[in-house]
């Protein structure tokens, strides 16, 4: 089996439980990501999703196991991995533009001032914020702040983007708008994305595969669900695809009924599930030239 872009091997996290014992939040987490994939991870609170993401970001250390990206083990944070935090984490004393400039300069220190500015403005324009360049984060709404944060992460063009529940603190309407924007940027850039979410619809809209975690303690990534809906997707029309409902029903059933007892394959890798297999692919909005990349996605899922 050829090496994947990112390989997570036997990750576990153990905390002292405060009474002299130990608490294993998750254990033996194994999965692989391919270049250009968008993968969401869903699980109930306390299963350690955020810790897994922080380990990938290099901000936290696992108790056991390792993460290899591009053949190199991840130790500590790095610019080849970009992070979008749930609480935006913009520097409040900097303007919108300077928050991006800060990241772009860290990424390409040799660039001229003009080039850095031009590059930063381009990414702010992508998220529709070119009118708010000189405003401070405190003068922006929650949705606008998260857009800045997303622009910052994409602007550094990391090989792997880690999104930690980026829309968790936003109201439903704003969330929808920014989801659309994220879809749009992702279609343009085709970054590899690993994202935590609690929202089943969001996961289906965005991802190629969805990892389902069983409940903690001793949580595992039990299943890897293939989302068999062609790109580009649109929030307004995705409901019309029969595969959407099959996938959604499967995810909800897992989260409600099976997350307590679900287990991965015997070798520790998640069970590969294709709930919408055989369902006719006919999305009125996007029944166009995407069949090729679709078969690619399918091939990837089989390889993984």
């Amino acid at each position: 089996m050829s090496k994947s872009f990112l390989e997570v091997d036997g990750l576990s996290k153990v905390y002292p439980d405060g009474q002299g014992g130990e608490l294993t939040v998750f254990e033996d987490i194994r999965f692989a990501l391919e270049k250009g994939e968008f993968v969401c991870i869903i699980g109930h609170s306390g299963c350690g999703k955020s810790t897994i993401l922080n380990v990938l970001a290099g901000l936290d250390e696992a108790s056991a196991g390792n993460v290899v990206m591009n053949g190199k083990e991840i130790k500590g944070p790095g610019l080849e991995r970009g992070v979008v935090f749930q609480n935006y984490s913009l520097l409040p004393w900097k303007t919108t533009l300077n928050n991006i400039v800060f990241a772009v300069r860290a990424r390409w220190p040799e660039w001229s001032k003009e080039k850095v500015k031009e590059h930063s403005e381009r990414y702010l324009k992508m998220v529709g914020l070119d009118h708010a360049l000189n405003r401070k984060p405190s003068q922006l709404s929650g949705g606008m702040r998260q857009r800045v944060s997303i622009a910052r992460a994409f602007a550094t063009q990391p090989e792997l983007l880690l999104l930690d529940e980026p829309f968790g603190a936003l109201d439903a309407l704003t969330r929808g708008v920014i989801q659309d924007e994220l879809v749009k940027i992702w279609e343009e850039t085709r970054q590899t994305v690993f994202m935590i979410t609690h929202d089943v619809d969001e996961a289906i809209l965005l991802s190629d595969r969805i990892f389902l975690m069983s409940n903690g303690p001793n949580a595992r990534i039990a299943e890897s669900v293939k989302v068999d809906i062609p790109h580009p997707r649109a929030r307004a029309t995705i409901f019309q695809n029969p595969a959407y409902h099959k996938t959604r029903d499967y995810l909800v059933d897992f989260l409600v009924n099976r997350s307590g007892s679900a287990l991965p394959e015997k070798d520790g890798t998640p069970k590969i599930v294709e709930p919408a297999k055989g369902v006719a692919q006919s999305t009125p909005a996007s029944a166009d030239s995407e069949t090729e990349s679709e078969s690619e996605t399918a091939a990837r899922a089989v390889n993984a």
């Binding site: 290099g58 991995r81 992070v83 935090f85 409040p92 004393w93 860290a106």
Partner: protein, 275 residues
């Protein structure tokens, strides 16, 4: 309806007039007696009972002093401006020296829990010592009264700056530190581009407290070391029994202290940010 500011100003002025009026009335000399006694005539008609000068006398003196604040007629007769300049010079010198130590050390103990734990006991013991208690030791070691006064300012202004810097640095939101880490900033660049601006409001609060304490302490220190400065001036005028000058200099101490605080307040505004 006048705005709140206008009404407040009117009220302020009325309070001032009322207070000055009461003060003026309370300090009027008693009605002249029908005639001077032989003794009073011998004393040149001067009344025996000394009293606080009325505001009119203080204002007259203030006018005279402020119209020529920088005259220098020998060791014991310098203008109020010169005396205040000496005091401000000592405060700023000691204060800047304290800053040069407090900010880096504050950063160090704010960023390193080990250094914090190691240095905290000394800070806790040294901090509550009245700065003037250092004066004899300073005079003995430094052997220079001017430098000793500056040292006392240094030692009194260092603690609020040090502790506020350490507190501000230690409590920078972990999210912002994580932003620096995910962008691979080195320790020095993290300190300058993330931690310093994040902790700046807290640091400035410490600096503002320090300048206030330094200005309180300089008056007492100069009363001790003598020679020049507003503290010496107050004590000298007391020895001259010139109470109008004493009251005038008290007011000037208040005004300069307010200006120092205003300057730091402005600086604080500059580094403030809203989350």
């Amino acid at each position: 309806m006048a705005s709140l500011n206008v009404r407040a100003a009117l009220l302020s002025v009325s309070f001032l007039i009322l207070a000055l009026g009461l003060w003026e009335m309370a300090t009027q000399p008693p009605e002249a007696q029908t005639g001077l006694t032989e003794y009073e005539m011998l004393m040149g008609g001067v009344e025996q009972e000394s009293r606080v000068p009325p505001p009119s006398a203080v204002i007259k003196l203030a006018w005279a002093e402020l119209s020529d604040p920088f005259y220098d007629a020998g060791a014991n007769d310098k203008g109020i401006g010169i005396q205040l300049a000496y005091s401000v010079y000592r405060v700023l010198t000691g204060y800047l020296a304290a800053m040069a130590i407090a900010l880096p050390v504050g950063f160090l103990i704010g960023m390193s829990p080990l250094m914090y734990k190691a240095l905290n006991p000394y800070i806790q013991v040294l901090r509550p010592i009245s700065p003037l208690a250092w004066m004899p030791l300073a005079l003995f070691i430094i052997q220079d009264s001017d430098a000793s006064a500056i040292f006392v300012i240094f030692i009194c202004s260092i603690w609020p700056m040090l502790l506020n810097t350490a507190f501000g640095v230690a409590n920078v939101r972990q999210d912002w530190v994580n932003v620096a880490r995910t962008h691979e900033l080195g320790p020095l660049r993290t300190a300058i581009t993330v931690i310093l601006p994040a902790a700046a409001p807290t640091i400035l609060t410490g600096m503002r407290i320090s300048i206030g304490i330094a200005w309180l302490v300089i008056v007492a220190a100069e009363m001790l070391v003598g020679g020049t400065g507003i503290g010496y001036y107050v004590w000298n005028e007391w020895n001259n029994l010139d109470l109008a000058s004493v009251i005038f200099s008290i007011l000037m101490i208040g005004v300069v202290g307010m200006l120092l605080d205003l300057a730091l307040g402005k600086a604080q505004k500059l580094v403030e940010y809203k989350e």
